[in-house]
Protein backbone atom coordinates (compact mmCIF):
# COMPACT_ATOMS: atom_id res chain seq x y z
CA UNK A 1 0.00 0.00 0.00
CA UNK A 2 1.37 3.38 -0.93
CA UNK A 3 1.41 5.81 1.94
CA UNK A 4 -1.13 8.55 1.63
CA UNK A 5 0.26 12.09 1.59
CA UNK A 6 -0.81 12.99 5.09
CA UNK A 7 0.79 9.96 6.57
CA UNK A 8 4.30 9.69 7.93
CA UNK A 9 6.30 7.65 5.46
CA UNK A 10 8.30 5.64 7.94
CA UNK A 11 6.72 2.69 9.67
CA UNK A 12 4.26 4.07 12.16
CA UNK A 13 5.47 3.81 15.72
CA UNK A 14 3.48 1.33 17.69
CA UNK A 15 1.54 2.18 20.81
CA UNK A 16 3.83 2.17 23.76
CA UNK A 17 2.25 -1.01 24.90
CA UNK A 18 4.75 -3.53 26.04
CA UNK A 19 4.77 -6.81 27.77
CA UNK A 20 6.15 -6.04 31.17
CA UNK A 21 7.20 -9.57 31.86
CA UNK A 22 5.28 -9.50 35.08
CA UNK A 23 4.34 -12.94 36.25
CA UNK A 24 0.78 -13.79 35.49
CA UNK A 25 0.69 -11.82 32.28
CA UNK A 26 -1.36 -13.88 29.91
CA UNK A 27 0.30 -15.05 26.75
CA UNK A 28 -0.52 -12.80 23.87
CA UNK A 29 -1.86 -9.89 25.84
CA UNK A 30 0.10 -6.79 26.51
CA UNK A 31 -0.20 -4.37 29.34
CA UNK A 32 -0.70 -0.73 28.70
CA UNK A 33 0.78 2.05 30.73
CA UNK A 34 -1.36 5.12 31.07
CA UNK A 35 -0.12 8.25 32.74
CA UNK A 36 -3.14 9.79 34.41
CA UNK A 37 -2.21 13.33 35.16
CA UNK A 38 -0.78 15.79 36.01
CA UNK A 39 -3.52 17.55 34.09
CA UNK A 40 -6.21 14.94 34.15
CA UNK A 41 -9.72 16.13 34.98
CA UNK A 42 -10.05 14.06 38.12
CA UNK A 43 -6.73 14.16 39.91
CA UNK A 44 -7.81 17.01 42.19
CA UNK A 45 -4.90 19.22 41.32
CA UNK A 46 -1.56 18.47 39.81
CA UNK A 47 -1.11 14.83 40.64
CA UNK A 48 -0.12 11.95 38.45
CA UNK A 49 -0.94 8.28 38.62
CA UNK A 50 1.23 6.04 36.49
CA UNK A 51 -1.17 3.21 35.91
CA UNK A 52 -0.41 -0.11 34.31
CA UNK A 53 -3.51 -1.66 32.85
CA UNK A 54 -4.47 -5.09 31.75
CA UNK A 55 -7.61 -4.36 29.81
CA UNK A 56 -9.08 -1.90 32.23
CA UNK A 57 -7.82 -3.63 35.34
CA UNK A 58 -5.04 -1.98 37.24
CA UNK A 59 -2.02 -4.13 37.80
CA UNK A 60 0.32 -1.43 39.02
CA UNK A 61 -0.17 2.12 40.17
CA UNK A 62 2.47 4.63 41.08
CA UNK A 63 1.37 7.94 42.57
CA UNK A 64 3.66 10.76 41.50
CA UNK A 65 3.40 14.03 43.34
CA UNK A 66 5.50 17.08 44.06
CA UNK A 67 4.25 19.29 41.28
CA UNK A 68 2.97 21.78 43.83
CA UNK A 69 5.98 21.77 46.13
CA UNK A 70 6.38 25.23 47.61
CA UNK A 71 9.09 24.76 50.19
CA UNK A 72 6.65 25.34 52.99
CA UNK A 73 8.76 23.88 55.79
CA UNK A 74 11.97 25.64 54.80
CA UNK A 75 10.18 28.96 54.41
CA UNK A 76 8.70 28.52 57.88
CA UNK A 77 12.17 27.95 59.29
CA UNK A 78 13.28 31.31 57.97
CA UNK A 79 10.21 33.25 59.07
CA UNK A 80 9.05 34.29 62.50
CA UNK A 81 6.60 32.04 64.31
CA UNK A 82 3.78 34.42 63.55
CA UNK A 83 4.84 34.74 59.92
CA UNK A 84 4.19 31.05 59.25
CA UNK A 85 0.59 31.33 60.35
CA UNK A 86 -0.73 32.69 57.03
CA UNK A 87 1.30 30.06 55.20
CA UNK A 88 -0.46 27.28 57.07
CA UNK A 89 -3.70 28.50 55.50
CA UNK A 90 -2.28 27.43 52.19
CA UNK A 91 -1.43 23.87 53.16
CA UNK A 92 -4.88 22.43 52.88
CA UNK A 93 -6.63 25.38 51.38
CA UNK A 94 -10.06 24.00 52.13
CA UNK A 95 -9.51 23.97 55.87
CA UNK A 96 -7.46 26.98 56.86
CA UNK A 97 -9.10 27.21 60.28
CA UNK A 98 -8.02 23.75 61.38
CA UNK A 99 -4.54 24.26 59.94
CA UNK A 100 -4.27 27.45 61.98
CA UNK A 101 -5.45 25.65 65.06
CA UNK A 102 -2.97 22.81 64.73
CA UNK A 103 -0.09 25.22 64.29
CA UNK A 104 -1.23 27.48 67.11
CA UNK A 105 -1.66 24.43 69.33
CA UNK A 106 1.90 23.27 68.82
CA UNK A 107 3.35 26.75 69.36
CA UNK A 108 1.26 27.07 72.52
CA UNK A 109 2.66 23.74 73.69
CA UNK A 110 6.15 24.91 72.87
CA UNK A 111 5.87 28.20 74.70
CA UNK A 112 3.42 27.15 77.38
CA UNK A 113 0.74 29.70 76.53
CA UNK A 114 -2.67 29.36 78.11
CA UNK A 115 -5.75 29.74 75.95
CA UNK A 116 -8.80 31.53 77.40
CA UNK A 117 -12.03 29.61 77.49
CA UNK A 118 -13.89 31.79 75.03
CA UNK A 119 -11.08 31.34 72.52
CA UNK A 120 -11.34 27.56 72.92
CA UNK A 121 -15.03 27.74 72.13
CA UNK A 122 -14.41 29.92 69.09
CA UNK A 123 -11.81 27.44 67.90
CA UNK A 124 -14.19 24.50 68.23
CA UNK A 125 -16.91 26.40 66.38
CA UNK A 126 -14.68 27.42 63.50
CA UNK A 127 -13.09 23.97 63.28
CA UNK A 128 -16.41 22.20 63.12
CA UNK A 129 -17.72 24.64 60.53
CA UNK A 130 -14.58 23.89 58.58
CA UNK A 131 -15.29 20.19 58.87
CA UNK A 132 -18.79 20.69 57.55
CA UNK A 133 -17.68 22.62 54.50
CA UNK A 134 -14.78 20.28 53.79
CA UNK A 135 -16.86 17.12 53.97
CA UNK A 136 -19.72 18.53 52.00
CA UNK A 137 -17.54 19.72 49.17
CA UNK A 138 -15.52 16.50 49.22
CA UNK A 139 -18.67 14.47 48.76
CA UNK A 140 -19.62 16.72 45.90
CA UNK A 141 -16.27 16.12 44.23
CA UNK A 142 -16.49 12.40 44.87
CA UNK A 143 -19.88 12.08 43.23
CA UNK A 144 -18.69 14.22 40.38
CA UNK A 145 -15.82 11.80 39.89
CA UNK A 146 -18.46 9.13 39.57
CA UNK A 147 -19.87 11.15 36.72
CA UNK A 148 -22.80 13.01 38.22
CA UNK A 149 -22.06 16.12 36.19
CA UNK A 150 -21.59 18.41 39.12
CA UNK A 151 -25.16 18.52 40.38
CA UNK A 152 -24.32 17.32 43.91
CA UNK A 153 -21.19 19.43 43.77
CA UNK A 154 -23.20 22.53 43.01
CA UNK A 155 -25.55 21.84 45.91
CA UNK A 156 -22.56 21.24 48.14
CA UNK A 157 -20.97 24.50 47.07
CA UNK A 158 -24.22 26.34 47.66
CA UNK A 159 -24.12 25.28 51.31
CA UNK A 160 -20.38 25.69 51.61
CA UNK A 161 -20.85 29.26 50.48
CA UNK A 162 -22.94 30.02 53.55
CA UNK A 163 -20.17 28.77 55.81
CA UNK A 164 -17.54 30.70 53.88
CA UNK A 165 -19.66 33.80 54.29
CA UNK A 166 -19.50 33.22 58.03
CA UNK A 167 -15.73 32.92 57.84
CA UNK A 168 -15.51 36.09 55.83
CA UNK A 169 -17.54 38.12 58.25
CA UNK A 170 -15.50 36.71 61.11
CA UNK A 171 -11.93 36.77 59.83
CA UNK A 172 -12.12 38.90 56.71
CA UNK A 173 -11.23 36.17 54.25
CA UNK A 174 -13.26 33.31 52.87
CA UNK A 175 -10.60 30.67 52.57
CA UNK A 176 -7.28 32.06 53.75
CA UNK A 177 -8.61 32.97 57.16
CA UNK A 178 -5.36 33.40 59.11
CA UNK A 179 -7.57 33.60 62.16
CA UNK A 180 -5.89 31.83 65.06
CA UNK A 181 -3.14 33.41 67.10
CA UNK A 182 -0.88 31.95 69.77
CA UNK A 183 -3.04 32.05 72.87
CA UNK A 184 -6.38 32.63 71.21
CA UNK A 185 -7.84 34.14 68.10
CA UNK A 186 -7.20 37.31 66.18
CA UNK A 187 -10.51 39.02 66.82
CA UNK A 188 -13.63 38.42 68.82
CA UNK A 189 -16.88 36.97 67.57
CA UNK A 190 -19.89 39.21 67.90
CA UNK A 191 -23.26 38.16 69.25
CA UNK A 192 -24.62 38.86 65.80
CA UNK A 193 -22.17 36.44 64.22
CA UNK A 194 -23.16 33.71 66.63
CA UNK A 195 -26.76 34.21 65.67
CA UNK A 196 -25.90 33.94 61.99
CA UNK A 197 -23.85 30.83 62.65
CA UNK A 198 -26.74 29.32 64.57
CA UNK A 199 -29.11 29.86 61.68
CA UNK A 200 -26.64 28.27 59.24
CA UNK A 201 -26.15 25.30 61.55
CA UNK A 202 -29.88 24.87 62.10
CA UNK A 203 -30.49 24.77 58.36
CA UNK A 204 -27.72 22.30 57.68
CA UNK A 205 -29.36 18.98 58.64
CA UNK A 206 -32.21 19.70 56.26
CA UNK A 207 -29.73 20.19 53.47
CA UNK A 208 -28.04 16.93 54.41
CA UNK A 209 -31.39 15.14 54.20
CA UNK A 210 -31.93 16.53 50.73
CA UNK A 211 -28.44 15.63 49.72
CA UNK A 212 -28.84 12.08 50.94
CA UNK A 213 -32.16 11.75 49.17
CA UNK A 214 -30.39 12.75 46.01
CA UNK A 215 -27.57 10.24 46.10
CA UNK A 216 -27.26 8.01 49.15
CA UNK A 217 -29.73 5.41 47.94
CA UNK A 218 -29.03 5.84 44.28
CA UNK A 219 -28.44 2.36 42.88
CA UNK A 220 -25.80 3.61 40.53
CA UNK A 221 -23.85 5.23 43.34
CA UNK A 222 -24.12 2.14 45.49
CA UNK A 223 -23.04 -0.11 42.65
CA UNK A 224 -20.12 2.13 41.91
CA UNK A 225 -18.85 2.58 45.43
CA UNK A 226 -19.69 -0.51 47.47
CA UNK A 227 -16.93 -3.14 47.69
CA UNK A 228 -14.64 -0.85 45.76
CA UNK A 229 -11.26 0.23 47.07
CA UNK A 230 -11.41 -1.85 50.22
CA UNK A 231 -8.91 -0.89 52.88
CA UNK A 232 -8.16 -3.43 55.58
CA UNK A 233 -7.95 -2.00 59.12
CA UNK A 234 -4.58 -3.67 59.73
CA UNK A 235 -3.06 -2.02 56.70
CA UNK A 236 -4.66 1.29 57.58
CA UNK A 237 -3.12 1.22 61.06
CA UNK A 238 0.25 0.11 59.73
CA UNK A 239 0.31 2.89 57.17
CA UNK A 240 -0.60 5.52 59.72
CA UNK A 241 -3.82 6.43 57.99
CA UNK A 242 -6.08 8.65 60.06
CA UNK A 243 -9.33 10.49 59.87
CA UNK A 244 -12.52 9.37 58.11
CA UNK A 245 -10.55 6.97 55.89
CA UNK A 246 -9.40 5.09 58.98
CA UNK A 247 -12.74 5.21 60.73
CA UNK A 248 -14.43 3.83 57.62
CA UNK A 249 -12.42 0.65 58.16
CA UNK A 250 -13.92 0.29 61.63
CA UNK A 251 -11.00 1.51 63.72
CA UNK A 252 -12.24 3.73 66.50
CA UNK A 253 -9.67 6.48 66.47
CA UNK A 254 -10.77 10.06 66.62
CA UNK A 255 -8.29 12.53 68.07
CA UNK A 256 -11.14 14.61 69.41
CA UNK A 257 -11.91 11.71 71.72
CA UNK A 258 -8.48 10.14 72.06
CA UNK A 259 -6.22 13.14 72.41
CA UNK A 260 -8.65 15.38 74.25
CA UNK A 261 -7.16 18.56 72.84
CA UNK A 262 -9.13 21.76 73.15
CA UNK A 263 -12.40 21.34 74.98
CA UNK A 264 -13.93 18.49 73.00
CA UNK A 265 -14.52 16.50 76.18
CA UNK A 266 -17.33 18.90 77.07
CA UNK A 267 -19.46 18.10 74.05
CA UNK A 268 -21.75 15.20 73.38
CA UNK A 269 -20.99 13.57 70.07
CA UNK A 270 -20.51 10.11 68.68
CA UNK A 271 -17.92 8.69 66.33
CA UNK A 272 -19.44 6.84 63.36
CA UNK A 273 -17.59 3.75 62.23
CA UNK A 274 -17.73 1.79 59.02
CA UNK A 275 -17.52 -1.95 58.59
CA UNK A 276 -16.24 -2.50 55.08
CA UNK A 277 -13.66 0.19 54.49
CA UNK A 278 -14.82 0.78 50.93
CA UNK A 279 -15.63 3.98 49.08
CA UNK A 280 -19.27 3.94 50.13
CA UNK A 281 -18.27 3.65 53.79
CA UNK A 282 -15.91 6.58 53.44
CA UNK A 283 -18.71 8.57 51.86
CA UNK A 284 -21.28 7.67 54.52
CA UNK A 285 -18.87 8.17 57.42
CA UNK A 286 -18.39 11.73 56.26
CA UNK A 287 -22.12 12.30 56.01
CA UNK A 288 -22.62 10.96 59.53
CA UNK A 289 -19.68 12.93 60.82
CA UNK A 290 -21.29 16.08 59.51
CA UNK A 291 -24.41 15.29 61.49
CA UNK A 292 -22.28 14.89 64.63
CA UNK A 293 -20.47 18.14 63.87
CA UNK A 294 -23.81 19.88 63.73
CA UNK A 295 -24.49 18.60 67.24
CA UNK A 296 -21.16 19.89 68.51
CA UNK A 297 -21.82 23.24 66.89
CA UNK A 298 -25.25 23.55 68.44
CA UNK A 299 -23.81 22.90 71.89
CA UNK A 300 -20.80 25.17 71.44
CA UNK A 301 -22.82 28.05 70.02
CA UNK A 302 -25.28 27.84 72.89
CA UNK A 303 -22.68 27.57 75.64
CA UNK A 304 -20.00 30.01 74.51
CA UNK A 305 -18.94 32.04 77.58
CA UNK A 306 -17.86 35.65 77.80
CA UNK A 307 -14.26 36.56 78.38
CA UNK A 308 -11.03 37.15 76.56
CA UNK A 309 -10.71 35.93 73.02
CA UNK A 310 -6.94 35.92 73.25
CA UNK A 311 -4.52 35.50 76.10
CA UNK A 312 -3.52 39.11 76.93
CA UNK A 313 -0.06 37.96 77.95
CA UNK A 314 0.66 36.42 74.55
CA UNK A 315 3.13 38.51 72.60
CA UNK A 316 2.57 39.26 68.96
CA UNK A 317 5.91 40.85 68.13
CA UNK A 318 9.29 39.63 69.26
CA UNK A 319 7.90 36.23 70.16
CA UNK A 320 10.68 33.90 71.32
CA UNK A 321 9.63 30.55 72.74
CA UNK A 322 12.08 28.87 75.10
CA UNK A 323 14.32 26.16 73.59
CA UNK A 324 12.56 22.84 73.33
CA UNK A 325 10.34 20.83 71.08
CA UNK A 326 6.62 20.26 70.76
CA UNK A 327 4.21 18.28 68.64
CA UNK A 328 0.65 19.50 68.41
CA UNK A 329 -1.97 17.52 66.55
CA UNK A 330 -5.65 17.87 65.90
CA UNK A 331 -8.34 15.94 64.13
CA UNK A 332 -8.43 17.91 60.91
CA UNK A 333 -11.26 17.08 58.50
CA UNK A 334 -8.86 14.99 56.45
CA UNK A 335 -7.17 13.19 59.33
CA UNK A 336 -4.49 13.78 61.88
CA UNK A 337 -2.79 17.09 61.20
CA UNK A 338 0.30 17.65 63.28
CA UNK A 339 3.00 20.29 63.52
CA UNK A 340 6.35 19.40 65.02
CA UNK A 341 8.47 22.32 66.13
CA UNK A 342 11.94 22.65 67.60
CA UNK A 343 12.89 25.96 69.07
CA UNK A 344 16.42 27.12 69.78
CA UNK A 345 15.27 30.23 71.55
CA UNK A 346 15.47 32.44 68.49
CA UNK A 347 12.45 34.13 66.89
CA UNK A 348 12.44 31.49 64.15
CA UNK A 349 11.79 27.79 64.56
CA UNK A 350 14.88 25.64 64.25
CA UNK A 351 12.89 22.82 62.73
CA UNK A 352 9.37 22.91 61.45
CA UNK A 353 7.68 19.78 60.23
CA UNK A 354 4.11 19.15 59.10
CA UNK A 355 2.43 15.79 59.34
CA UNK A 356 -0.02 16.20 56.46
CA UNK A 357 -2.98 13.81 56.59
CA UNK A 358 -3.46 13.99 52.84
CA UNK A 359 0.02 12.72 52.08
CA UNK A 360 -0.08 9.88 54.57
CA UNK A 361 -3.54 8.79 53.51
CA UNK A 362 -2.34 8.82 49.92
CA UNK A 363 0.36 6.23 50.55
CA UNK A 364 -2.17 3.41 50.52
CA UNK A 365 -3.59 4.36 47.13
CA UNK A 366 -1.93 1.52 45.24
CA UNK A 367 -3.04 -1.10 47.77
CA UNK A 368 -6.61 0.00 47.36
CA UNK A 369 -6.50 0.24 43.57
CA UNK A 370 -4.86 -3.06 42.59
CA UNK A 371 -7.31 -5.31 40.82
CA UNK A 372 -9.85 -2.56 40.40
CA UNK A 373 -10.60 -0.84 37.14
CA UNK A 374 -9.41 2.54 35.97
CA UNK A 375 -12.85 3.99 36.70
CA UNK A 376 -12.53 2.83 40.30
CA UNK A 377 -9.09 4.34 40.72
CA UNK A 378 -10.59 7.75 40.11
CA UNK A 379 -13.21 7.45 42.81
CA UNK A 380 -10.81 5.76 45.23
CA UNK A 381 -8.51 8.74 44.87
CA UNK A 382 -11.50 11.01 45.34
CA UNK A 383 -12.61 9.17 48.46
CA UNK A 384 -9.24 9.55 50.17
CA UNK A 385 -9.82 13.30 50.12
CA UNK A 386 -6.48 14.80 49.23
CA UNK A 387 -5.56 18.39 48.69
CA UNK A 388 -2.38 18.71 46.71
CA UNK A 389 -1.38 21.85 48.55
CA UNK A 390 -0.99 19.70 51.61
CA UNK A 391 0.49 16.65 49.91
CA UNK A 392 3.29 18.57 48.25
CA UNK A 393 3.66 21.47 50.66
Amino acid sequence: MTPSPGRPTEAMPQFEMHATGVEGATEGTERMEVSMGPHHPSTHGVFRMDVELEGETITKLKPVFGYLHRNHEKIAESTSYLGSMPYTDRLDYFNSMTNNWAYALSVEKLAGIEVPERAEYIRVITAELTRLQNHVSLIGFLVQDMGALGTPLMYAFRERERILDLFESLSGARMMCNYMRFGGCRCDVSADWIKQAQSVVEAFPQFLDEFEALISENEVLMARSQHVGILKPELAIDAGVAGPVLRATGVNYDLRKVDGYGIYDRFQFRVPLGDHGDVYDRYMIRVLEMRESVKILQQALAEIPNGDYVNPKAKLRGFRPPPGEAYGRIEAPKGELGFYLISDGSPKPYRYRVRPPSLINLTILEDMCLGQTIADAVIILGSIDIVLGEVDR
Binding site: T79, S80, L82, G83, S84, M85, P86, Y87, D89, R90, T151, Y155, R158, E161, D165, E168, S169, L170, S171, G172, A173, M176, N178, R186, C187, E210, A213, L214, I215, S216, E217, N218, E219, V220, L221, M222, L316, R317
Partner: protein
Protein backbone atom coordinates in the same frame (compact mmCIF):
# COMPACT_ATOMS: atom_id res chain seq x y z
CA UNK B 1 -36.46 -2.84 43.84
CA UNK B 2 -34.27 -1.44 41.11
CA UNK B 3 -34.96 2.17 40.34
CA UNK B 4 -36.32 3.46 43.65
CA UNK B 5 -33.22 5.39 44.66
CA UNK B 6 -32.91 6.80 41.17
CA UNK B 7 -36.50 8.04 41.19
CA UNK B 8 -35.93 9.61 44.60
CA UNK B 9 -32.91 11.45 43.25
CA UNK B 10 -34.86 12.63 40.22
CA UNK B 11 -37.58 14.05 42.43
CA UNK B 12 -34.87 15.93 44.30
CA UNK B 13 -33.38 17.42 41.15
CA UNK B 14 -36.85 18.34 39.91
CA UNK B 15 -37.44 20.19 43.16
CA UNK B 16 -34.24 22.10 42.66
CA UNK B 17 -35.13 22.79 39.06
CA UNK B 18 -38.41 24.42 40.01
CA UNK B 19 -36.96 25.90 43.18
CA UNK B 20 -34.32 27.77 41.24
CA UNK B 21 -37.08 29.80 39.59
CA UNK B 22 -38.74 31.09 42.74
CA UNK B 23 -36.57 30.37 45.75
CA UNK B 24 -33.70 32.82 46.26
CA UNK B 25 -32.20 30.36 48.77
CA UNK B 26 -31.61 27.94 45.95
CA UNK B 27 -30.59 30.23 43.13
CA UNK B 28 -27.76 32.00 44.91
CA UNK B 29 -25.93 33.22 41.83
CA UNK B 30 -24.88 36.85 41.86
CA UNK B 31 -24.10 38.10 38.37
CA UNK B 32 -20.90 39.85 39.15
CA UNK B 33 -20.14 42.93 37.13
CA UNK B 34 -23.76 44.12 37.25
CA UNK B 35 -24.59 42.92 40.74
CA UNK B 36 -22.26 42.88 43.68
CA UNK B 37 -22.55 41.41 47.12
CA UNK B 38 -22.07 44.21 49.64
CA UNK B 39 -18.71 43.68 51.27
CA UNK B 40 -18.68 42.11 54.70
CA UNK B 41 -17.53 44.54 57.32
CA UNK B 42 -14.43 42.55 58.17
CA UNK B 43 -13.58 41.72 54.57
CA UNK B 44 -9.95 42.29 53.82
CA UNK B 45 -7.94 42.25 50.69
CA UNK B 46 -4.83 44.40 50.43
CA UNK B 47 -3.34 46.98 52.80
CA UNK B 48 -3.50 50.73 52.42
CA UNK B 49 -2.04 53.68 54.31
CA UNK B 50 -4.26 56.03 56.28
CA UNK B 51 -3.85 59.78 56.34
CA UNK B 52 -5.61 62.32 58.55
CA UNK B 53 -7.01 65.58 57.26
CA UNK B 54 -7.20 66.48 53.61
CA UNK B 55 -3.65 66.43 52.37
CA UNK B 56 -2.27 62.93 52.09
CA UNK B 57 1.35 63.97 52.20
CA UNK B 58 1.22 65.90 55.44
CA UNK B 59 -1.42 63.74 57.06
CA UNK B 60 0.16 60.35 56.41
CA UNK B 61 0.34 58.46 59.68
CA UNK B 62 3.22 56.26 58.64
CA UNK B 63 6.49 57.09 60.37
CA UNK B 64 8.48 54.56 58.34
CA UNK B 65 9.42 52.49 61.36
CA UNK B 66 9.74 49.53 58.98
CA UNK B 67 8.18 47.03 61.38
CA UNK B 68 5.66 45.93 58.77
CA UNK B 69 8.44 45.52 56.26
CA UNK B 70 10.24 43.19 58.64
CA UNK B 71 7.19 41.23 59.74
CA UNK B 72 5.57 40.80 56.33
CA UNK B 73 5.74 37.03 55.62
CA UNK B 74 6.07 37.24 51.82
CA UNK B 75 8.08 40.49 52.10
CA UNK B 76 6.04 42.50 49.70
CA UNK B 77 6.61 45.89 51.40
CA UNK B 78 9.50 48.15 50.51
CA UNK B 79 10.17 51.29 52.54
CA UNK B 80 12.80 54.00 52.25
CA UNK B 81 13.02 56.72 54.87
CA UNK B 82 12.93 60.36 54.00
CA UNK B 83 15.57 62.67 55.43
CA UNK B 84 13.05 65.35 56.23
CA UNK B 85 10.92 64.88 59.28
CA UNK B 86 7.38 66.03 59.76
CA UNK B 87 5.22 66.52 62.84
CA UNK B 88 2.78 63.73 63.68
CA UNK B 89 -0.64 64.09 65.25
CA UNK B 90 0.89 64.66 68.64
CA UNK B 91 3.09 67.41 67.31
CA UNK B 92 6.25 65.38 67.67
CA UNK B 93 8.69 65.41 64.81
CA UNK B 94 8.68 61.97 63.18
CA UNK B 95 10.29 60.27 60.23
CA UNK B 96 8.27 59.82 57.09
CA UNK B 97 8.59 57.36 54.22
CA UNK B 98 10.15 58.58 51.01
CA UNK B 99 9.19 55.40 49.21
CA UNK B 100 6.47 53.04 50.42
CA UNK B 101 5.70 50.32 47.89
CA UNK B 102 3.48 47.30 48.26
CA UNK B 103 3.65 44.70 45.56
CA UNK B 104 0.10 43.36 45.62
CA UNK B 105 1.03 40.60 43.21
CA UNK B 106 3.06 39.20 46.10
CA UNK B 107 0.88 40.29 49.00
CA UNK B 108 -1.31 37.53 50.38
CA UNK B 109 -3.57 39.74 52.44
CA UNK B 110 -2.69 38.11 55.74
CA UNK B 111 -3.15 41.28 57.80
CA UNK B 112 0.00 40.78 59.84
CA UNK B 113 1.30 44.24 58.91
CA UNK B 114 -1.91 45.69 60.35
CA UNK B 115 -1.54 43.80 63.58
CA UNK B 116 2.06 44.77 64.18
CA UNK B 117 1.78 48.45 63.21
CA UNK B 118 2.19 50.53 66.38
CA UNK B 119 1.07 53.76 64.70
CA UNK B 120 -2.34 52.66 63.35
CA UNK B 121 -1.21 53.74 59.93
CA UNK B 122 -1.63 50.61 57.80
CA UNK B 123 -5.02 48.96 57.48
CA UNK B 124 -6.77 46.49 55.16
CA UNK B 125 -8.78 47.62 52.19
CA UNK B 126 -11.70 45.63 50.81
CA UNK B 127 -11.31 46.72 47.21
CA UNK B 128 -10.54 43.69 45.08
CA UNK B 129 -10.76 45.02 41.54
CA UNK B 130 -7.06 45.46 40.93
CA UNK B 131 -6.86 44.02 37.45
CA UNK B 132 -4.76 46.09 35.12
CA UNK B 133 -3.36 45.78 31.66
CA UNK B 134 0.19 46.15 32.84
CA UNK B 135 1.80 43.06 34.18
CA UNK B 136 4.02 44.50 36.88
CA UNK B 137 3.52 48.20 37.23
CA UNK B 138 -0.20 48.23 37.84
CA UNK B 139 0.20 45.81 40.72
CA UNK B 140 3.07 47.67 42.37
CA UNK B 141 1.25 50.22 44.48
CA UNK B 142 3.23 53.30 45.42
CA UNK B 143 2.77 55.67 48.33
CA UNK B 144 0.32 57.98 46.56
CA UNK B 145 -1.85 55.05 45.43
CA UNK B 146 -1.77 53.49 48.87
CA UNK B 147 -2.68 56.65 50.79
CA UNK B 148 -6.38 56.78 51.62
CA UNK B 149 -8.19 59.04 54.00
CA UNK B 150 -9.42 58.17 57.44
CA UNK B 151 -12.90 58.97 56.14
CA UNK B 152 -12.56 56.19 53.58
CA UNK B 153 -11.43 53.88 56.35
CA UNK B 154 -14.56 54.77 58.30
CA UNK B 155 -16.68 54.01 55.26
CA UNK B 156 -15.30 50.49 54.73
CA UNK B 157 -14.67 49.25 58.28
CA UNK B 158 -16.79 51.50 60.57
CA UNK B 159 -16.39 49.52 63.80
CA UNK B 160 -12.71 48.93 63.41
CA UNK B 161 -12.11 52.55 62.40
CA UNK B 162 -13.99 53.74 65.47
CA UNK B 163 -11.79 51.58 67.65
CA UNK B 164 -8.69 52.89 65.93
CA UNK B 165 -9.82 56.47 66.47
CA UNK B 166 -10.45 55.76 70.13
CA UNK B 167 -6.96 54.36 70.45
CA UNK B 168 -5.57 57.51 68.91
CA UNK B 169 -7.65 59.75 71.14
CA UNK B 170 -6.40 57.75 74.10
CA UNK B 171 -2.87 58.10 72.85
CA UNK B 172 -3.26 61.82 72.51
CA UNK B 173 -4.74 62.10 75.99
CA UNK B 174 -1.94 60.00 77.36
CA UNK B 175 0.50 62.15 75.51
CA UNK B 176 -1.11 65.33 76.76
CA UNK B 177 -1.19 63.99 80.29
CA UNK B 178 2.39 62.99 79.95
CA UNK B 179 3.29 66.38 78.56
CA UNK B 180 1.37 67.97 81.36
CA UNK B 181 3.08 65.80 83.92
CA UNK B 182 6.36 66.51 82.29
CA UNK B 183 5.62 70.21 82.24
CA UNK B 184 4.53 70.07 85.83
CA UNK B 185 7.60 68.14 86.73
CA UNK B 186 9.66 70.59 84.83
CA UNK B 187 7.90 73.49 86.47
CA UNK B 188 8.30 71.84 89.82
CA UNK B 189 11.92 71.19 89.18
CA UNK B 190 12.33 74.76 88.04
CA UNK B 191 10.56 75.95 91.09
CA UNK B 192 12.63 73.75 93.27
CA UNK B 193 15.72 74.86 91.52
CA UNK B 194 14.60 78.44 91.88
CA UNK B 195 13.81 77.97 95.53
CA UNK B 196 17.04 76.08 95.95
CA UNK B 197 18.83 78.85 94.24
CA UNK B 198 17.00 81.37 96.38
CA UNK B 199 17.84 79.31 99.42
CA UNK B 200 21.47 79.05 98.49
CA UNK B 201 21.47 82.73 97.71
CA UNK B 202 20.01 83.37 101.05
CA UNK B 203 22.52 81.05 102.58
CA UNK B 204 25.39 82.72 100.84
CA UNK B 205 23.90 85.97 101.86
CA UNK B 206 23.70 84.66 105.40
CA UNK B 207 27.25 83.53 105.23
CA UNK B 208 28.21 86.88 104.06
Amino acid sequence: MIGKGILKGMVETARNLTGSFHDPDRLTTVEYPEQKIPAKENARNFPFLIYDGDDWETGLRCVSCQICEKECPPQCIYIEKDKEKKPDFLGKMQMQPKIFDIDVSVCMGCQICVEVCPFESIRMDNDFEYAGSDRFKSLLLTKDQLAKSNKYYHSIHPTEAQETDEIRVQKREDHLAKEKAKAEKLAKAKKEAASKAALSKAETAKEE
